[in-house]
């Protein structure tokens, strides 16, 4: 099975994400494909599995960012499942993203009476914490 994915890099100085415009493709083993099938319905479980998987991190070191030291990255898309909203959400983002994050961060009923900007700021406050969980360091051993 093939895994298609896109990445973002994180600039710690500017506290900003930059989209890596390349679509990467990798073959995964049957066993990993089975795990993927189980996890794909839960975007965060899928994300965390890949973030912790040696095969994925090795691929990034070997094929994506060889020789990278202390590079901070995050996954933006996996086989059509997008995480972009976590890095690029703005108060002016569309209602679909608000609906997603209201559910994700359990921002409940009262939000219906509050101003959009206020809810947007609340989502951004949650995201400032969540983003740090999503970012992972790439420490690739230099090729000799």
């Amino acid at each position: 099975m093939q895994l298609q994915f896109e990445l973002v890099s994180y600039d710690t100085v500017l506290d900003k994400f930059n989209l890596d415009e390349t679509m990467y493709q990798m073959e995964i083993s049957d066993e990993d494909a089975q795990t993927y099938e189980i996890l794909k319905s839960s975007d965060m479980n899928l994300y965390n599995w890949l973030k912790e998987s040696a095969f994925f991190l090795n691929y990034i070191c070997d094929e994506v960012y060889p020789n990278s030291k202390s590079k901070k990255i995050a996954i933006s898309d996996i086989n059509g499942i997008t995480y972009r909203r976590f890095y690029f959400f703005k108060v002016t983002s569309s209602d679909a993203h608000y609906a997603y994050f209201k559910k994700f961060f359990t921002i409940f009923e009262e939000s219906d009476w509050q101003d959009r900007e206020e809810i947007g700021d609340e989502i951004l406050a949650h995201l400032s914490v969540k983003r740090q969980e999503l970012i992972f360091d790439i420490e690739c051993t230099p090729l000799v």
Binding site: F88, T92, S93, D95, F108, E109, E110, D112, Q114, R116
Partner: protein, 491 residues
């Protein structure tokens, strides 16, 4: 329970029932409520004998706030601790008022004295009261200071001081200041004048009925061509009893119909939000009721100014426009737009912004928005493990009703005692809340829900249907359940 009160209430209820050709037993059967359940608010399905096991744990417990949440918690602690050491800090003598009755007072169904209760009549035996306001909190050293300068130390702190009603943020009402529901609100009443009202204080509910009658009389002598304008608001903050702004609309509508003046009146609701209710099923039901009763509504309007002399309410009117394409998010942005809208009124009912007391927001115990940040299930403070919070001031989603408190206070007490015993906090609040939405004089839609944002009815009946039996429950049963059941730590 006060037997005299119960007898009087039952007698009134039986009279009401017999006028509908029904016995009390039949009525309870119809609602799925057991004979005992009517007093404790439990269905026959979930009513169960409660066995309270006392703990020998010892600690000095201070509760800030002597309203429904604070007193119910104190009462429960006295039941569950063999040697309790509890102090309540509460400046208001009338803090135990029955706030859910304020809508009924505002519609002339009850008198104000039917909802006024003295704090000291409900403080459990052995619980000390400091009649003062806690104004400075030092959670690092487990102490607080009161307005009169008394320093109070504690092992455990429970924050239950409710919300403040922020009228002063409305231009033209600056002199109203911030108010609490109970206590002397003469300053607020003076600031509102004789055409603006609010059911959010006990005094205000009586004044609402006075003003409502005045404008119903005006409507009677008006004409369909020149209607008397009744305006109702809902603010941009979370509020206690989110259904209350609509209840007063329905009750005004009912009184206008009763007076034969409805066609000469125009009722308009200006909520800040974009829906009638957070639960879609109840939203749809309310929209249907508004259409049926010809009550107009305009979403996304926040009251920001009143001109009392010329009787003009100014709203921040908001809408959204489609913005530019965002190539990264692969979606169109949404651009918020605002403009001021001036609306003439004859009668203006304000649901004020609700905010956490300033002293909490300014302390280490408050969040950026002022509320007390707690684990929403255990009600334990997220930073100070010996601090818990309950009721309106706690940063708990959908938790600002008496119905929420009823589910919260036992969870809090179980968890506090577990912490005292150094065991795992196993009590979990699941977000249950209830809004008996009065839709007419004689009907109530019992909106029950939790964090699933789905109806969670306690009774085997369609919860979106307005029912007389729930009116009976609201008017006759909920007060004794609250005042004598919850306040004794048992219901």
């Amino acid at each position: 329970m006060d037997k005299q009160y119960i007898d009087k209430m039952l007698s009134k209820m039986d009279k009401d029932l017999s006028s509908h050709g029904m016995s009390r037993r039949d009525a309870m059967k119809m609602a799925g409520i057991s004979a005992a359940g009517i007093f404790v608010g439990t269905t026959s399905a979930n009513a169960e004998e409660e066995k309270i096991v006392k703990s020998d744990a010892k600690a000095k417990i201070v509760i800030v706030g002597g309203g429904l949440a604070g007193i119910s918690t104190a009462a429960r602690l006295t039941l569950q601790l063999s040697d309790p050491d509890i102090t309540i800090i509460e400046p208001e003598k009338d803090s135990a008022n029955y706030q859910p009755g304020q809508t009924l007072v505002a519609a002339g169904i009850w008198d104000e004295d039917e909802i006024i209760y003295k704090r000291d009549d409900f403080v459990p035996d052995g619980v000390k009261v400091i009649e003062d306001r806690a104004i400075f909190f030092n959670p690092q050293e487990n102490k607080l200071t009161t307005e009169k300068g008394q320093v109070v130390t504690y092992d455990y702190l429970i924050l239950a001081m409710g919300v403040q009603l922020d009228f002063e943020r409305i231009k033209g009402l600056e002199e109203a200041g911030r108010a609490y529901s109970a206590g002397n609100n003469d300053k607020l009443m003076d600031a509102l004048g004789d055409s603006i009202c609010s059911i959010y204080t006990s005094q205000g509910s009586t004044k609402t009925w006075e003003i409502m009658q005045k404008y119903i009389a005006q409507a009677k002598s008006a004409s369909p061509e020149k209607k008397t304008k009744f305006i109702f608001t809902h603010p941009s903050t979370p509020i206690k009893c989110g259904g209350a702004p609509k209840k007063i609309i329905y009750l005004t509508n009912a009184r206008l119909k009763e007076a034969g003046a409805r066609e000469n009146a125009e009722l308009t609701f200006y909520p800040n939000g974009g829906a009638m209710f957070g639960v879609p099923e109840y939203h749809d039901a309310i929209v249907g009721q508004f259409k049926r009763e010809d009550i107009k509504y305009h979403y996304r309007h926040n009251l920001i100014e009143v001109d009392k002399e010329n009787k003009i309410a100014t709203f921040d009117s908001k809408w959204q426009e489609k913005g530019p394409w965002d190539p990264v998010m692969k979606d169109f942005e949404v651009i918020p737009k605002h403009e001021k809208l001036r609306v003439p009124y004859d009668f203006l009912h304000i649901a004020p912004a609700n905010i956490a007391p300033r002293e909490i927001g300014e302390s280490d115990l408050g969040s950026a928005k002022g509320w007390v940040p707690v684990n929403k299930e255990t009600l334990q403070h997220i930073r100070y493990m010996n601090v818990f919070s309950i009721g309106d001031v706690a940063q708990v989603p959908m938790g600002k009703t008496g119905g929420s408190i009823r589910k919260q206070y036992k969870v809090l007490v179980d968890n506090l005692i577990a912490h005292m015993n150094d065991t795992k906090l196993e009590g979990k609040y699941a977000g249950y809340t209830v809004c008996p939405l009065i839709t007419d004089i004689g009907t109530v839609m019992l909106a029950e829900f939790d964090w699933t944002v789905k109806p969670t009815p306690s009774f085997p009946l369609d919860p979106t249907v307005e029912r007389w039996i729930f009116w009976l429950m609201k008017v006759y049963a909920l007060k004794p359940m609250t005042m004598y059941g919850m306040m004794s730590g048992r219901a």
